[in-house]
Symmetry: C2
Subunit: 152 residues, 2 copies
C-alpha cells in the first residue's frame, strides 16, 4: 500500500505509468476536490467567525493562519471548477458557473481579493477589532457567490 | 440565504444564537472537514507530483503554492482528529489514532516537518530537481501514516 502510493506519486509505478496526466482528472474527482476545498474554507471561516463572535478568545496566530488558508483556497479554487465538472457526482454547483463564466469570474475575483486582504490585515492584527470589518467583507463575498452559483 | 449565512457567521442570527460554540463541532462535521482537508492535500500533492514526474512542466509559483497549502493543511490537521470524531460518519480513520496518541503525534509531526521543509525549499526553487528529493520525503511521510492509521 505504502509502496504503491509512493510509486504512483513519484511516477515509478508501472501500474500508473499509462494513466492520463493529472490535467485530465475525472469529473468526479474534481467535484470531490472542490467539495473538500470548500469544507476547508467553511471550517476556517468558522474558526475566525467564532473569534469575531466572541465565542472563542482571539488567537492572533490561529486567526492569521485561518485567513491565510482561506486566501490560498481562493487562489486555487478556479481549478476546482474545471470545465466538465458540472456533473459526475452530486453537486450543488449551478450550470451558470460555466454558462456565465464572466459573472462567475467576477465573484471569484472578489472572493480572492477579500480573502487576500483579510490575510494581509490578520498578519499584524493585535485584537479582534482589527479584523472584524474585513472578515465581514469576506463572508459577504462568500454569500454573494452562493446566492448566484450554488443551489440551495 | 445570503443574509442567513452572513448572520450566522457574524453571530447576529437569532436562529444560531444558541448554537454551541464552534469548539463543540459535531463528529460528522469534523469527519467531513477531515476528509475535505485530505482531498486538498491529495490534489495539491498530485499537482506537485505531476511536475516531479515530468507529466507537467515545472511551474515554480504553482509548485510553491501547492507546497505551502500542504504545509498549512498539515499544521491544522490535528484539529481534524478531535476526540469523538472516530465515528459519526463513514471514515477510514483507525482507532489507533486515538488509542496510540503518541504514535499518531509522531507521524503527524513528521508530516508537518516534511511539508514545511518542502514549502521552504520550493520558495527558491529554480527547477524540479531542487524539490524532487524533499517531495519524495513528504510522500513517504503520507504513506507511513496511511499504513498505520488508515484502513485500506
Amino acid at each position: 500500500m505504502k509502496h504503491a502510493l509512493i510509486a504512483a506519486l513519484l511516477g515509478t509505478s508501472t501500474l500508473f505509468a499509462s494513466a492520463p496526466a493529472f490535467a485530465q482528472a475525472k469529473p468526479e474527482d474534481v467535484i470531490k476536490y472542490r467539495q473538500g476545498l470548500y469544507q476547508v474554507v467553511g471550517w476556517q471561516n468558522r474558526t475566525m467567525g467564532s473569534m469575531v463572535k466572541g465565542q472563542a478568545p482571539f488567537d492572533a496566530a490561529e486567526f492569521s493562519r485561518a485567513a491565510e488558508i482561506v486566501s490560498l483556497m481562493a487562489a486555487v479554487a478556479p481549478g476546482a471548477f474545471a470545465p466538465g465538472s458540472d456533473k459526475g457526482a452530486p453537486t450543488r454547483a449551478k450550470p451558470e458557473i460555466w454558462s456565465d463564466a464572466a459573472g462567475f469570474k467576477k465573484a471569484m475575483d472578489t472572493f480572492q481579493a477579500e480573502s487576500a486582504k483579510l490575510a494581509q490585515i490578520a498578519k499584524g492584527a493585535k485584537d479582534v477589532d482589527a479584523v472584524r470589518s474585513q472578515y465581514g467583507a469576506l463572508v459577504k463575498s462568500c454569500g454573494a457567490c452562493h446566492d448566484n452559483f450554488r443551489t440551495k
